[in-house]
Symmetry: C2
DNA sequence: TTGAAAGCGCTAACAG
DNA sequence: CTGTTAGCGCTTTCAA
C-alpha cells in the first residue's frame, strides 16, 4: 500500500474545483481569498477522503523540508550518539517539543567516520541545524559554505558569524569556585572533561582558576583532574583524588558535569573519602541526576530545557528570515544549594 | 542559497551523457550495465561538481523516504518525549546507529494531543515505525489500516498481526522474585508503574506473583506498590514502604525499572530503612544508572542496545519485503548480581 | 549500452 | 475569486 494515497487532485475532483484552489485553501495562503462555499467544499472533501499532505512533494517544490537536524556528540569511533549523558536527553526532549509546536520535525543522525553532517543535511534538505558542542574547524567552514541556517550551542569558536546559544561558562566556573571559597575552602580541585580549545570545559576551568587567583588561593596543575565526561571517568578521577587526599590538602572539588560528579562520589567513597565530610562538591548542569545522589549535588544550574527551546527559536528565526545578524544568546545560570557542600 | 544545487542533469551535461545514465550509475542499478569509461566520467563529474542527492525528489518518485520513525512514550500532557528514563536514551542511541548503518535516518517526533503518530508517519512518508510501549487499541487499528511496516517493542497487545520485539517480562518478574525467594526472603514487595492491561509491568507483576505462589509465600495486594515509572514516584513508594516496614515484615522488593529503584533507595533511606540491610532490592533493565547507586543494583538485565538493533532490523526486514509473516522476537534476559541483595 | 519522456504530488506564476 | 500550466529533481518504462 502506498502512503498518502489521496492527493489534492482527488480533493479537487471531489469538490469540483481546481488543484490550485485546493492547494491555496489547504495552505491558507494569505494572498488568496475564496468564497466560503468553496472553502467549505474543499475542506469537507479533504476531510471525507482523509487527505494527508505529502511532505516530500512539498519539500521538492518549496525547498523547505520542515525538518531540522540536531547534531549530538558521538563516541570516538563515530558510533552511537552520546545519550548516556542526561544532558543530551533533556536537551533533545525540549528541542523536539519546541520544534513540533512550530510545525517542524527533528531528524537525528550521527555521522559515520567518512562523512560530515552537512552531507546528510543537504541530502535531506534540512531547513536548519542545531549543533551541540565542539567540532573541528574545517567543519564550520564547510557548514558556512553550505549556507545553511545553523545555531551553535555550547561552542566558543569565534571568527565565525554563526548564531550561538550558550551560558557564560567562565562565569559559571567562577561562581562555583567562589562559592566554595566563600565557604572557607582553600584547596579546591577541578574535575572535568578534556580541555578542548574553546570548549565549555576550558571556559569553566578558566573561571575556576580566576576565582582561585583572585582569592589568593593555591592554584597548581595538581589540582586539575581531567578525563572524559562520563561516570566511569568520574570514578577514576575520584579514586585519584582520594589517593592523594591526605597530602594534597584538598577539601573541595568543582566538577564540570553531573554525571562525572556521580562517578566522583563513587571513586571518593571507594577510596574512603566522604562527601561532604572530607570533600565538598559543586557540580555543573543540574540535570535530573543531580538530585538523586546522596548527598544531593549543589550545582551551578543551567536550564537545559530553555537552552533547547532557545536554540530552536533561533534557527527558526534564521529560517524565516527574521534574524539576519549574528546573535549570541547567553542564558542565565545560578547556584542551587543542596547537600554536597559544607563550610570549612 | 538552495540545497542540492547540483542536479543529476548537471552531471549528465558535464559527463556528456543522459540523466538516465547518471541515475543508473549513481544508484548502481544492478539491472543496468555501462562501459567503464561512462561510469568513470559520470563518477568524476559527480565528484567534481560536489553532487548531493535530493532525498525529497527521490522519495517523491520512489515512495521511499529512507526514514523510520520512533514513537516514544510522552508525558501525560502530550508534551515532551520521556527521555528522563535512561532506557529510552539507550534504546534510541542503538536504533539510530543501526538505522544509519543501513542508510536510514530516524525521525523523532512526539504527537500533540489532537493527533496520532500515523498522521506524521504518512505525511513524512516514513518507511516504517518502531513503537515503544503501550498505546490505545484504536491506534493499532489505525496503524494497521495505514498498512505501514511496524514493529512493536515491549507490547503485549495481541489479536494483531504486528511484528514484535520484546523480552519475556513474565519470566523476568519470575526470575526476580525467585532469586529473592532463593535467598530466603518470604515477604517480597513489588514496586512498579501503572499496571496497564497487557503492558510489560503487568507481565512482570504476574511473574512475581507466580513465583510467590509457587513458593507458597505470602501474596496480598498490600505488597504491591504502583505509581508512575519515575524517580519521584520511586521516592514516594519508598517512603510508603518504609512507613509500613515494621509491621509489614517485608524484607525485599522487586522494582520494575532502574530509575524507580533509585527513587526507592531515596525514599527508603529517608524513612530510615537501609538497603540491603533491612530490605533487599532487585531491579529491572540494567541501564547505566543501575551501576551508579550504592549499593549497585542487582538486576534482571536486558540488553537495551540489542533491543534497538533488533527492532530496526525487524522493520527493515518488513520494508524490504524479506519478512512477511508475523514474527515475535524474544530477547534473552538474565540476573546480574550486585550489591543490593543479601540472604535472609 | 544508452536516451527520451512520462510522471511522483505539490506550489506558484500567470491568465482570466 | 478560480483555473491552466510549468516545473521541483529524480526514477523508470520503453525504445533504440
Amino acid at each position: 500500500m502506498r502512503s498518502g494515497r489521496v492527493r489534492i487532485k482527488d480533493i479537487a475532483a471531489e469538490a469540483g474545483v481546481s488543484v490550485t484552489t485546493v492547494s491555496y485553501i489547504l495552505n491558507k495562503t494569505p494572498t488568496q481569498t475564496f468564497s466560503p462555499e468553496t472553502v467549505k467544499s474543499v475542506l469537507d472533501a479533504a476531510n471525507k477522503l482523509g487527505y494527508v499532505p505529502n511532505m516530500a512533494a512539498k519539500a521538492l517544490v518549496s525547498n523547505r523540508s520542515h525538518m531540522i537536524g540536531v547534531v549530538i556528540p558521538q563516541t570516538e569511533q563515530h558510533r552511537e550518539v552520546m545519550f548516556s549523558n542526561p544532558f543530551y536527553g533533556d536537551f533533545l526532549s525540549s528541542v523536539e517539543y519546541t520544534a513540533r509546536q512550530n510545525g517542524y520535525h527533528i531528524l537525528i543522525s550521527g555521522t559515520n567516520a567518512d562523512q560530515t553532517y552537512i552531507g546528510v543535511a543537504r541530502t535531506r534538505g534540512l531547513d536548519g541545524i542545531i549543533i551541540l558542542g565542539m567540532y573541528m574547524e574545517q567543519h564550520y567552514d564547510e557548514i558556512k559554505k553550505a549556507g545553511m541556517p545553523v545555531v551553535l550551542v555550547d561552542c566558543y569558536v569565534d571568527g565565525h558569524d554563526f548564531n550561538t546559544v550558550k551560558i557564560d561558562d567562565l562565569q559559571g566556573g567562577y561562581m562555583a569556585a567562589k562559592y566554595l571559597l566563600d565557604k572557607g575552602h582553600r584547596r579546591i580541585a577541578h574535575v572535568t572533561g578534556r580541555l578542548k580549545e574553546r570548549g565549555v570545559n576550558q571556559q569553566r576551568m578558566y573561571g575556576w582558576k580566576k576565582a582561585l587567583e583572585e582569592a589568593g588561593a593555591a592554584y597548581d596543575r595538581s589540582l586539575l583532574y581531567d578525563g572524559e565526561v562520563s561516570y566511569e571517568y568520574g570514578v577514576i578521577l575520584g579514586g585519584r583524588l582520594a589517593e592523594s587526599f591526605r597530602e594534597s590538602g584538598v577539601t573541595a572539588a568543582f566538577v564540570s558535569a553531573d554525571i562525572m560528579a556521580l562517578g566522583l562520589y563513587k571513586g571518593l567513597k571507594d577510596g574512603g573519602v566522604s562527601v561532604p565530610g572530607d570533600i565538598s562538591v559543586v557540580s555543573f548542569d543540574d540535570t535530573w541526576i543531580a538530585g538523586i545522589c546522596d548527598p544531593a549535588l549543589t550545582v551551578v544550574r543551567q536550564d537545559v530545557a530553555l537552552k533547547g527551546k532557545t536554540a530552536v527559536e533561533a534557527v527558526l528565526g534564521i529560517i524565516d528570515g527574521g534574524i539576519t545578524e549574528k546573535r549570541e544568546i547567553i542564558l542565565p545560570i545560578r547556584i542551587v544549594e543542596r547537600g554536597s557542600v559544607i563550610g570549612k
